[in-house]
């Protein structure tokens, strides 16, 4: 099954290519910097966890993130004791920051799954050095997201189990027609599969860490987590089978989860929500925002731990291109919304669009257009793609833009619907921001712990990128491809 994917990095076959192709290849950076060996890769990545001193910046960053995590905890305690009235939600805006944040986080998660599962199936070798932390990002984002469907309810202590179908003497079941129930299944499945996928991928590396660890404590912990991995051929064979199966399982989830999330809106009848093109629109937006988040995390991490030779400009370019592609789909959806509002001839749909553009929340709409439709056109330029600092800023903006998109869809659609008498305005409170920044704190805290305690880059998979791996006629992962 050795695949002919060599052209991406292989000069030997260059002779058979056109000049233009050769030139393109020459300009395309490698997925791994030259000069790495199996040992150097292992040392470099495991060194972050085992030998190198924890940089002072890590403590600083984790400290700040933890502060925000504390805010989250405070907010949740206040929320449970006082009620969701501490937020700005009202009638008509029944959902606001809670569901915006939910959709935003769950969208961010999508990039991890896409990178690890779909790119694996499509044999995109460049995924190897970013998939691990992208998957971790997915898990942490889904953890942040999963909090909201529960906490946004008026009585979370009941919602925690009433939303699941469990046998009971009253013979009461959830209402299976409600998209919120679909959400529960979609998100819990997604989280479970992502966790398994991520952990399975970690096992060989955990064994590596176990073997390299100096302290007894670390050896024990990694030893337990490595589940007795010894790297035997049978282990590898089983590993590769399960990994491929999980990749196959995850792949439809990339599409299904955000499709189901989009049903929360598409199934309802509120103008601005009730639209058939929401599933592809939401999935594209999710991948778009997810890659923006991967970029946001990769750029500083790469600089902090000097991983430029593992996360190369090749990765940065590819991620930018995916953002450009998905961003264009999202922009197309914006055009579609405007077109169908007009074409429907429906008074309410038309008003919804006018209100988005010129209503009290109009500036947010135009900011979102400016970011998601206009700014991303910069990604066409190689000079932009080469500028890592600029890309970091732009990807942060994309995250802002995607948050605004959800704000526009949720709050701006709700605040003026059918009867003008019930129109209202929404303003977030400090607790709304506490909850939002708190989940960012949770996300970053987990991420900081992750990069410090677990290999943020897959050691064994990166080893397959090293030239020696090719000499031996293919890598373990190539085998399963």
């Amino acid at each position: 099954m050795a695949a002919p994917q060599q052209p991406l990095q292989a000069p030997p076959e260059a002779g058979s290519m056109s000049a233009a192709h050769r030139e393109l290849l020459a300009r395309t950076p490698d997925v791994i910097a030259p000069g790495h060996t199996f040992g150097s890769v292992t040392d470099k990545i495991s060194g972050i966890i085992l030998t190198r001193r924890t940089p002072i910046g890590w403590f600083l960053g984790f400290g700040i993130a933890f502060m925000f995590l504390t805010i989250l905890n405070l907010t949740i305690v206040k929320l449970l004791f006082t009620g969701i009235g501490i937020w700005g939600n009202n009638i008509p805006v029944g959902w606001a920051f809670d569901i915006i944040n939910f959709v935003w986080w769950i969208g961010i998660g999508h990039a991890g799954t896409l990178i690890s599962a779909i790119l694996l199936l499509f044999r995109q070798q460049w995924r190897t050095s970013i998939n691990r932390f992208a998957e971790a990002m997915t898990l942490f984002a889904v953890a942040c997201a999963a909090m909201f469907p529960l906490l946004h309810t008026g009585r979370p202590w009941l919602a925690a189990y009433w939303l699941f179908p469990y046998p009971n003497t009253m013979q009461l079941w959830p209402q299976f027609r409600s998209p919120l129930i679909w959400d529960v299944f979609a998100v819990s499945t997604y989280f479970t599969v992502s966790l398994l996928f991520w952990f399975t991928g970690l096992i060989p590396d955990l064994a590596t860490l176990r073997d390299s660890a100096q302290s007894k404590f670390a050896q024990r912990i990694f030893g337990v987590l490595a589940l007795g991995w010894r790297g035997s051929a049978q282990h590898w064979q089983r590993y590769e089978t399960i990994y491929l199966l999980l990749a196959g399982l995850s792949t439809p989830l990339v599409l299904s989860v955000h499709t189901v999330v989009s049903f929360d809106f598409a199934v309802s009848e509120i103008p601005g929500w009730h639209a058939t093109f929401f599933p592809p629109y939401f999935v594209a937006g999710a991948i778009y925002s997810g890659f923006a988040m991967v970029m946001t995390l990769a750029v500083p991490m790469r600089a902090a731990f000097h991983l430029e030779d593992l996360i190369t400009m090749r990765h940065i370019h590819n991620m930018t291109k995916i953002m450009l592609a998905t961003g264009m789909i999202v922009a197309y959806a914006y055009v579609n919304e405007v077109f169908y509002a007009w074409y429907s001839g429906n008074l309410f749909e038309q008003f919804m669009m006018t209100n988005r553009q010129t209503g009290p929340y109009g500036p947010f709409y135009w900011m979102l257009i400016a970011i998601n439709a206009c700014m991303i056109q910069l990604f066409w330029f190689r000079s932009v793609r080469d500028n890592v600092v600029l890309l970091f800023i732009l990807s942060l903006l994309v995250n802002v833009g995607m948050w605004l998109e959800r704000f526009v869809i949720i709050v701006v659609s709700l605040h003026r619907d059918f009867l003008p008498s019930s129109w209202g305005m929404y303003a977030p409170t400090k607790w709304d921001f506490g909850m939002f920044t708190g989940t960012i704190g949770l996300f970053l805290s987990l991420f900081f712990l992750f990069v410090r305690l677990l290999p943020a880059i897959s050691i064994f998979e990166v080893r397959t990128l090293v030239p020696e791996a090719k000499v031996n006629g293919g890598s373990t992962t190539e085998h399963l491809l």
Binding site: G85, N90, P92, G94, T153, S178, L347, L419, M425
Partner: protein, 1076 residues
């Protein structure tokens, strides 16, 4: 026990030996005891040898463990929820008619502003919970106004004064009665020249008689009546026109053309309910409808009456007199003069006059209470000239027992107090320290009185200035009587004993008259058993009534007296005497009294009176007490005697009672505070209403704080843009800015009394306005008044309607297109509940909203929550404007849950907490709700309400008995909404099942429907083609809102049909832009 061993011969030998050894009497229980066997000793030692031995038996042990396990489990279950400590007081003797869980209704009446409205009050086990109209009462006919609906909260208001105090010290009432005797005796020398009694307008014949008797004892004492929002101008107007005090009674249903001169006759005053009903009777188009009437309204501020007018002309209040004079002189009132008519009214006058004259004897001119006396007199003269007297208007004596020039009386009182000639001031009701005209400096003048007594429901601004404060009994806890606007008298019977031991005005007056603590029941009954009671000339003291004399011993000292009569309503109302939970306590006490009564010799007259009395209490009206029309003649040339008002530069302010808190008496009523005022939709505040055009000219927006200045007085107040307000005028509502109202009412709004001078209690001219640059946040429940081009309110003129009665249905989006691909509607076999709301008769009076709040335990959320769009009203009245913003057409659209058959809310609830009943109700299961709010988001009508916080007051004990026990009290995190009063449906269903019959049409009245004065809301079974609701749904005017969404609402609306004068508004082609 086995007796194995004692049957052996050796054992018997031993026994015999032992018996021989004993001396004297020795008892033995058995042979075993005699033998003192080991078994027997063990038997005595072990208490339960059977069970104990079972412990060793394998089967028995199992059973034992099972038992223990089960009881442990049960003990554990009960331990999970700690049951609250609660004292249960059972009925020792079940009161007659009282079935726990079944409410009883008692007739009574609510007095306000010099007239009463008849009520039936729902009582659950002795505690009143809900007010309904009395169908037998002329000013109610089953409906109520919002104040009556909200008065039940006033009864349980935790901030009500709870004690009788003297300089802050709690005293018994007897101490008050004693303390007053010396000062009163001191006054006897001067025949009471230093005594002043200040009351509100009194319409209670008993209190009137008590006053007369008090004044007989102290001829020099003065009784002053004063209401800050009283009908002073109407009284002065009748003096001017006829030379005597009379009340005009309008037969609105007989009038084809009505001209309102600044009169909000549909929604204010004691006759509002009666007049609304009569007006609505001429606005229906179904059945054998009469000809539509036509209403012209010339008014200063937007009113509910103006919103129902076919032609509305906004004019400065001071300019209306000119219009009145112009119209009067044209219809033939001599000496009316012809003042310069304002430009805006020029084109109005001639068509109006032609219309009035074409309907001679079928027209009506009504002047508003805020207009000066001369306008009232002109209105009387116009009715006279148009031949309306005797046809659409009659005159009677006033409902108040002693009409007087209240303003002058108050001024004299203030002057007397300042002069130091008043030594005893008794204030019964009212709050003059807050509401008296500011330049009278009433509070300062009061300080000069040696002894000041205040009787009131609250320790308010006036109470703070008085030596004595007597907590007054609420009308629902005291015996009294009151006349309705047409004179019909009602005995006010208490529903409960005074919660805080309050005293009624009658009891206070009895104490002042030296009668000590004579119970109110005794006084009222004494009055009504005296000759001439019905005509208002009865007596309380002079001749003791026979019935009272007869039962006095039995009832001595106890308010349980009515129980002695054994009359059905009285018997159950009277247990109130026992306290907050009176029924059990009072019933046994009453029983001996009842037994004692027949034993006492009773004269035939007393028995006769007793029967009558019971009947009056039961019916809620004293028959044949309505006034007979009086013949009065309009004095010639009165109009010429008063000079037309000169125009004054500057802004003009009008003072009006607030639409919800009135003159301040309801400031602490949270239901009314949170009730959106029907035209501004403001809650918890008042504001200076200003027209959008004037605001634009003065560069003001809603919420800007301005300083109003006139005659050295200033007022800072926020402005609010009110479409339809006359240019260059400001409307200021009274009743706000109070400092001692209570927790709900303190520091809400602005005290506009600061600007209300004696000479300008209604209209204040030449006001300077300066913008302060500050702004103030006002809580408004409806920010948008435009229909945004949507077909939500459908209107046609009468001409258009005649040409095309189904105009409303033709305005449907995508009319005639199939709404669904697979269309197989669910079949409702049994009942199918539905509702229609006739917008053509709805006046937007808000009674329904308060009724809904009272019936359904709807919580109050407070101003900050309302500002955040979280008000909890299950029923709101949407208000839309179309047309010219300076004088728009105003529409009211009550909006309860639409109870959709294809409800959007139901499919999206993840836990099925909102689901459909087989009768078509969209049910809400509070227990099951987890509060995702998805249902609310998906509801196109946004009628669902969410408990974002714990809005219900669980802690205030005085509010516990207020709640309707048939409706769940919702907690935090739960969605709620209108249920079509499902508890009433259930009650009717149970009653019908017991009788084995179908629920009859009209048997169920939803709370909103019951309260509606115009019967705009009709509820019933739409499966029954004979039901009223089914008939209305068949009307061509019937339409549903947002029909194109295919929600199939069960609530539908009947379109508006206006009846404009074609001379003023040229006919337009059918359905042309009317439904903007």
């Amino acid at each position: 026990m086995n007796d194995g061993n004692i049957t052996e011969s050796g054992a018997l030998e031993a026994l015999r030996g032992r018996l021989e050894a004993t001396r004297g009497r020795q008892y033995w229980r058995s042979l075993e005891s005699l033998a003192e066997t080991a078994e027997f000793k063990e038997f005595l030692h072990r208490e339960f040898p059977h069970n104990a031995s079972e412990w060793l038996d394998p089967v028995g042990r199992r059973g034992f463990l099972k038992l223990m396990g089960a009881s442990l489990a049960l003990a554990g279950v009960s331990a999970c929820t700690r049951q609250p400590d609660e004292e249960i007081v059972p009925y020792v003797r079940q009161p007659e008619e009282e079935v726990p869980g079944k409410p009883l209704f008692f007739a009574t009446a609510m007095p306000m502003n010099g007239a009463g409205i008849g009520l039936l009050v729902e009582s659950h086990e002795g505690r009143p919970t809900k007010v309904e109209g009395n169908p037998d009462h002329p000013s109610s006919r089953g409906a109520t106004d919002l104040f009556a609906q909200a008065s039940i909260l006033g009864l349980y208001d935790p901030d009500r004064s709870r004690n009788i105090t003297n300089l802050g010290d709690i005293r018994p009432f007897s101490a008050f009665a004693t303390a007053l005797q010396d000062p009163l005796r001191a006054q006897e020398a001067t025949q009471g020249a230093g005594i002043r009694i200040l009351t509100e307008t009194v319409a209670s014949p008993t209190l009137g008689a008590q006053m007369r008797e008090f004044l007989m004892r102290f001829p020099q004492a003065k009784w002053v009546q004063w209401d800050s929002t009283g009908r002073h101008n109407a009284r002065a107007g009748s003096q001017l026109a006829f030379g005597e005090y009379v009340d005009a009674q309008y037969a609105i249903d007989k009038a084809d053309v009505i001209l309102s001169l600044d009169a909000d006759f549909l929604c204010t005053g004691a006759s509002g309910v009666r007049y609304s009903r009569a007006f609505a009777s001429r606005r229906r188009l179904e059945g054998n409808q009469a000809q539509l009437n036509r209403l012209y309204a010339v008014e200063c501020d937007p009113t509910n009456t103006g919103s129902r007018a076919d032609h509305r002309l906004p004019l400065k209040a001071s300019e209306i007199e000119a219009v009145a004079r112009a119209v009067a002189s044209r219809v033939g009132v001599a000496g009316a003069g012809d003042a310069a008519v304002p430009q805006a009214a020029m084109r109005w006058i001639d068509p109006l006059v032609r219309d009035l004259q074409a309907s001679r004897g079928r027209s009506l001119v009504i002047a508003g209470d805020g207009q000066p006396a001369v306008v009232h007199a002109l209105a009387h003269a116009m009715n006279d000239a148009l031949g309306n007297v005797g046809a659409t208007v009659t005159y009677t004596q006033t409902a108040e027992v002693q009409p007087m020039d209240q303003r002058a009386a108050l001024q004299t009182l203030a002057n007397d107090m300042n002069a130091g000639t008043v030594s005893l001031l008794v204030i019964i009701g009212g709050n003059p320290a807050y509401s008296a005209p500011v330049d009278l400096k009433f509070a300062d003048a009061m300080q000069k009185v040696a002894l000041r007594v205040h009787v009131g429901l609250y320790e308010d601004e006036t109470a703070a200035l008085c030596h004595w404060h007597i907590s007054q009994a609420h009308y629902l806890e005291s015996w009294s009587d009151v006349r309705a606007d047409d004179g019909t008298a009602t005995i006010i019977q208490p529903l409960i004993a005074p919660l805080y031991g309050g005293k009624s005005a009658h009891e206070v007056m009895a104490a002042l008259s030296g009668a000590g603590e004579r119970p109110g029941y005794d006084l009222v009954r004494a009055y009504w058993s005296s000759p001439g009671a019905a005509s208002g000339t009865g007596r309380v003291n002079a001749s003791p009534p026979p019935a009272t004399a007869a039962t006095a011993p039995a009832a001595a000292g106890a308010a349980a007296a009515p129980a002695a009569g054994g009359a059905r309503p009285a018997a159950t109302a009277a247990p109130a005497a026992g306290g907050a939970r009176p029924a059990a306590a009072a019933a046994p006490a009453a029983a001996p009294a009842a037994a004692a009564a027949p034993a006492t010799p009773v004269s035939a007259a007393a028995a006769q009176f007793d029967r009558q009395w019971r009947q009056w209490l039961h019916d809620g009206v004293v028959p044949n007490t309505a006034f007979t029309p009086k013949t009065v003649a309009v004095r010639a040339n009165f109009a010429a005697q008063t000079a037309p008002r000169a125009a004054v530069q500057g802004l003009e302010v009008v003072f009006r009672p607030d639409p919800t808190v009135h003159d301040g008496r309801f400031t602490n009523n949270a239901w009314l505070q949170e009730l959106p005022k029907s035209l501004t939709k403001l809650t918890w505040d008042n504001a200076a209403l200003i027209s959008p055009g004037t605001a634009d000219r003065l560069r003001l927006i809603s919420g800007d704080v301005v300083e109003l200045k006139q005659g050295g007085r200033t007022l800072r107040i926020a402005v609010w843009l009110a479409p339809g307000q006359a240019p260059d005028t400001l409307t200021l509502h009274l009743g706000y800015g109070r400092t001692r109202a209570g927790r709900a009412g303190n520091n809400t709004g602005f005290n506009v009394n600061a600007l209300r001078a004696f000479e300008a209690q209604d209209i204040l001219q030449g006001v300077e306005l300066t913008k302060t640059g500050e702004s103030y946040e006002l809580a408004c429940t409806q920010d948008h008044w435009s229909l945004e081009g949507r077909n939500l309110v459908r209107v046609a003129t009468k001409t258009q309607y005649d040409a095309d009665p189904a105009f409303a249905q033709k305005l449907e989006e995508g009319e005639g297109k199939p709404l669904s691909m697979y269309w197989q509607p669910y079949k409702y076999d049994g009942y199918a509940w539905g509702m229609t709301i006739d917008q053509n008769v709805c006046t937007g009076c808000n009674s329904c909203v308060v009724a809904c709040v009272a019936e359904n335990n709807v919580p109050v959320v407070g101003k900050p929550q309302v500002m955040n769009g979280r008000e909890m009203h299950w029923l709101r009245v949407d208000r839309y404007y179309t047309g010219d913003i300076e004088n728009p057409d105003t529409y009211h659209q009550p909006m309860p849950c639409q109870q959709c058959e294809n409800a959007s809310c139901e499919v999206v609830c993840p836990v099925a907490a909102t689901s459909h009943s087989d009768e078509g109700l969209n049910d809400m299961v509070y227990n099951r709700c987890v509060g995702t709010r998805y249902c609310s988001n998906n509801c196109p009508y946004k009628v669902r309400r969410f408990n974002f916080l714990l809005y219900q007051d669980w802690d205030t004990q005085s509010l516990w008995p207020l709640r309707n026990p048939d409706v769940t009290v919702r907690s935090r995190g739960v969605m709620e909404k209108c249920t079509y009063c499902v508890q009433r449906i259930s009650q009717a269903r149970i009653a019908a099942k017991l009788d084995d019959r179908q629920i009859r049409d009209g048997e169920i009245l939803t709370a909103c429907q019951a309260a509606c004065p115009t019967d705009a809301i009709v509820f019933g079974n739409i499966n029954d083609p004979g039901s009223q609701v089914a008939k209305l749904k068949a009307s061509p005017r019937n339409y549903t809102l947002l029909n194109e969404l295919n929600n199939r609402p069960r609530t539908s609306y009947l379109a508006l049909v206006r009846n404009p004068n074609t001379a003023l508004e040229p006919a337009q082609p059918a359905t042309d832009g009317e439904a903007r």
